[in-house]
């Protein structure tokens, strides 16, 4: 199958998935037990508040009308109005997406070369001391939960040594204004994915380097670095790319623990706030956003994997 054909098919499928998630999100709000307005309005609702929620959510209109409006508004990018702040949900999400996207992009920029490099180095020295040291380190890092590592780093570098600011309080969402606040969150975000990606790279490289096609290329006079980078690496990367999609997805969803510990005003924080305040329109907006991101990232990963494993049966 040709790449454009495959891409078109996957894109249509992705659109279907997003519509499916949007529908599910709408149905879930409908399925809240009893009077949705009473539930949403909080633990001790006063009648005015209930009435306000009812108006905001237009609960007096039939469900199918509201569903069609919800989809139509989605298409226009209108996610409704926050029940808490009264601001449009789209604005709330845009404001909070900034720090999350910044952290995710920086993490990925550091992660890919680091993980692939570590994996290749370990594969090169398979069974040697360096391989064992690298493997022990990355697996050890993987074994520490984010909150533990975050608290540990804050205590050591933020408080005890005072090298980096322990939290992003005071930056007002513009993390780049004070780049030092990024260091500790980045380290925490890198710790786990480096392990999974480098282990996959290592395994793939060992297999590819021992393959008959690499031996064949060596016999034909292809020099060592080309064998390694041009012939073995592309074969090792297909599973890495798929795993990278999971990681990207995880990062863009806003890693709640990291944002909470470092007080980063990102999407994870927004989600926690919205759930605490029962701000249904914001929760719905976040769900749709996460769905779109997941579908897009996995679509990209599948397209890359399609090229990296042309002989494999394709994922549909």
């Amino acid at each position: 199958m040709s790449l454009p054909r495959y891409a078109t098919g996957r894109l249509l499928l992705g659109l279907g998935q997003v519509v499916g998630v949007a529908t599910l999100v709408f149905v879930l709000t409908e399925a809240l037990p009893g009077d949705a307005a009473v539930v949403i309005a909080g633990d001790q609702p006063d009648p005015e508040r209930i009435a306000a929620v009812r108006t905001a959510l237009e609960l007096d209109r039939p469900a199918w009308q509201r569903y069609l409006d919800w989809l139509a508004d989605l298409l226009r990018g209108d996610l409704g109005v926050s029940l808490v702040s009264g601001r449009p949900v789209a604005d709330v999400l845009t404001a909070n997406a900034g720090p999350t996207v910044l952290l995710a992009v920086l993490t990925l920029l550091l992660l890919v070369p680091l993980a692939v490099g570590v994996g290749m180095l370990a594969a090169r020295r398979e069974g040697g001391r360096l391989d064992r040291a690298l493997s022990a380190t990355v697996v050890g890092l993987y074994a520490i939960p984010e909150f533990a590592l975050a608290v540990l780093l804050v205590a050591l570098f933020g408080v005890h040594l005072g090298w980096f600011p322990p939290t992003a309080v005071g930056t007002g969402g513009n993390l780049l204004a004070q780049p030092a606040v990024l260091v500790l969150p980045l380290v925490v975000l890198l710790a786990r994915p480096v392990c999974s990606l480098s282990r996959l790279t290592r395994a793939g490289m060992i297999e590819a380097a021992g393959s008959a096609y690499v031996a064949h290329a060596r016999r034909l006079g292809v020099p060592g670095h080309r064998l390694w980078l041009g012939h073995a690496l592309p074969n090792a990367l297909a599973p890495v790319v798929q795993q990278l999609a999971r990681t990207t997805d995880w990062l863009l969803g806003g890693v709640i623990v990291v944002e909470a510990v470092f007080v980063v005003p990102g999407l994870g924080t927004a989600l926690v706030d919205a759930v605490t305040a029962r701000d249904v329109p914001t929760i719905q907006g976040l769900c749709v956003l996460v769905a779109v991101v997941t579908v897009t990232v996995n679509l990209a990963a599948d397209l890359v994997a399609f090229r990296l494993a042309p002989a494999a049966p394709v994922a549909r």
């Binding site: 199958m1 006079g221 074969n235």
Partner: protein, 615 residues
């Protein structure tokens, strides 16, 4: 002829105290073809790899190998590119992720002299690639260069590997079993191709069991037995007057002499055949099969007069109730977003104790048909019945008895074994899973069956990686037999086996079906196998049976031109006008957009007795 290009003196290879190659010496001049011939495990591939300066894990090489006057050993491999290697499975050496053209250009750039203008640096590799592709008769258009290796046919992949060697400027080409699993027409192409390479001044070392090929292209041959050289000389002389007993045995059943039915008689009469198979016959023939399926066995025994050697008594199709009945089978392959119909309403029947051979060019649907029977491929329409009862279309819906009843021996034996577990365990597994035996009893039974296929005790406790391809083929057969099947599907089970081993396997299979009433469905490109085993032959083309009939008729007087070109005796082919002209486009070529229909050279097939095409 120019001077000696390759000199091998007193080459020895040892692994774990076992001698793989013992004191082998030979020389090879440019423009000549030398064939190393011997049983599987006789050390052919070890020698071939020693010329590349390679040794398998744990293999120690001693002795002297010189390529173009330069000593070669694992520490000093030959200069890159000077020795080309075409392995048994060419697909394994082609990088699955890289396009055909990219790799060709990379090799070309690597081996062209540096310097020149920018334009020269760009154009010279292109010209070199086109030239190399032309020499191996591959299309030189952009379409081929844009493809990935898996989008080429097996024959094209092999020619592509040769093109790599040509681009790298190889003086010596080591070709390991280049005709394994190829159909008759492709085998002729391979022969022509090797001859052409030698004609252009390359030295070719051919490692092969294919005596047709050896006879057609080799100037000289060297016979190996257990790593030792037992005989060497000009091919024509060795074929005409083999001096050593092993050579005689290897050449004993030259394909041209194999008439239906006679071969198994020869085996048993031949003195000193290592025929544990033949001797063990009374008693042993799988008790498993006996107690599991008494009905078909009785059928087989009741068959009037089945002396194993009489051709004319070969059972005709009627009278006997069919054990396996396939009707109106339609099967498709999906992929690339579209469906391709592979079988269009195929029907066949097979009685207990009968053997049906499926023949056809690559891509004609033989394997798909067999896979449908085995439940590995879900047909779109049609039924598969076993003893009158319809079989489920997929494996997971078949019960254990049905699973055991239809057993499949795959073409790629190595891929059908888990590389990490000893062969014995894997062979014993069906008896545990399907036969409900204890592990100990299953191992016992497995040892007995492995012994019958000629695999000794110490060999089978190893991991599959330590066994040769031919040995694994036999282990796979043993594994299938241990399930106690009623229908055995053999997909090219003798491909890549030497004459002696092949003889052994064929005798065993033949006995089993006669004694136990095993129904055999054999897929083979090898005319000899068909002649030895088959009662009936069905020729598949483009997903339908174009001709079907008793083996004796089909092998000598088939009506369809394709049947004739696939089945008829090579010698006969030479006498008659060659049927190439009326072979319609094969499914393989019709399916692939690129023009693969290059010249077929009837002259250079195994048909030619002399070496006329070499000069």
């Amino acid at each position: 002829m120019s001077g000696v290009l390759l000199r091998v003196a007193a080459l020895r290879a040892e692994a774990g105290g076992r001698r793989l190659v013992d004191d082998v010496s030979f020389t090879l001049a440019a423009g000549r073809v030398l064939a190393l011939v011997g049983m599987s495990g006789s050390g052919k591939t070890t020698i071939g790899r020693a010329l590349l300066g390679e040794a398998g894990p744990g293999v120690r090489l001693t002795g002297r190998v010189e390529v173009a006057g330069r000593p070669v050993d694992p520490a000093h491999p030959p200069p890159a590119g000077t020795v080309g290697y075409v392995p048994q499975q060419p697909s394994a050496v082609l990088n699955p992720v890289r396009r055909v053209g990219t790799v060709l250009h990379e090799i070309a750039r690597r081996h062209l002299p540096p310097g020149g203008t920018w334009r020269e640096r760009r154009d010279r590799p292109r010209r070199a690639v086109r030239e190399a592709l032309r020499r191996v008769a591959l299309p030189t258009d952009r379409d081929l260069l844009r493809r990935f290796p898996h989008q080429l046919s097996g024959g094209q992949q092999q020619r592509l590997v040769v093109a790599h060697a040509l681009l790298a400027g190889a003086h010596l080409l080591v070709a390991d079993e280049p005709t394994t699993g190829q159909d008759n027409l492709t085998r002729r192409d391979v022969a022509a191709e090797l001859s052409a390479l030698a004609g252009a001044g390359m030295a070719v070392l051919l490692l092969s069991h294919d005596l047709h090929l050896v006879r057609a292209v080799a100037d000289e041959m060297l016979v190996l037995h257990r790593g030792r050289r037992v005989e060497a000389g000009p091919t024509a002389e060795v074929f005409a007057a083999p001096r050593h007993e092993w050579t005689r045995r290897l050449l004993a059943a030259p394909p041209a002499d194999a008439r239906p039915g006679t071969a198994s008689c020869l085996t048993e009469d031949r003195p000193g055949t290592p025929s544990r198979l033949a001797h063990d016959r009374p008693g042993t023939p799988s008790r498993l099969a006996h107690d599991r399926h008494t009905a078909p066995s009785r059928l087989a025994h009741e068959r009037p007069g089945t002396p194993p050697c009489l051709t004319d008594d070969r059972p005709g199709t009627p009278e006997r109730p069919s054990l396996l009945a396939v009707a109106d089978l339609v099967a498709e392959h999906t992929g690339g977003g579209r469906r391709r119909t592979v079988l269009t309403g195929v029907g066949l029947t097979l009685a207990a104790g009968e053997c049906l051979a499926l023949v056809g060019r690559s891509g004609s649907g033989k394997t798909t048909l067999a896979r449908c029977v085995a439940g590995l491929h879900r047909p779109r329409a049609g039924t598969v019945r076993l003893a009158g009862r319809p079989l489920a279309t997929t494996l997971d819906r078949r019960d254990r008895a049905d699973l055991a009843a239809v057993q499949y021996v795959f073409q790629d034996a190595r891929a059908s074994f888990d590389p990490g577990r000893p062969v014995l365990d894997q062979v014993a597994r069906p008896a545990v899973r399907l036969g409900g035996r204890s592990v100990g009893a299953a191992r016992e039974a497995a040892r007995a069956v492995l012994d019958r296929v000629g695999l000794a005790g110490h060999l089978v406790t190893r991991d599959p990686g330590r066994l040769s391809g031919g040995e694994l083929h036999r282990a796979a057969l043993a594994r299938a037999l241990l399930a106690g099947p009623r229908v055995l599907i053999c997909d090219e089970i003798t491909a890549g086996l030497d004459a002696v081993t092949r003889d052994r396997i064929l005798t065993l299979v033949d006995e089993l079906r006669r004694a136990d009433g095993l129904a055999l469905l054999v897929i083979s490109h090898d005319r000899e196998v068909v002649a030895r085993l088959a009662d009936r032959v069905a020729v598949l083309h483009d997903g339908r049976v174009v001709e079907d009939g008793p083996a004796a008729t089909m092998l000598t007087a088939a009506r369809h031109s394709l049947s004739r070109s696939l089945l008829h005796d090579a010698a006969q082919g030479a006498r008659q006008p060659h049927p190439h002209g009326d072979v319609s486009p094969t499914p393989a070529t019709a399916r692939r957009p690129a023009p693969d229909q290059h010249r077929r050279t009837p002259m250079c097939g195994p048909t030619s007795t002399g070496k006329s095409q070499l000069e």
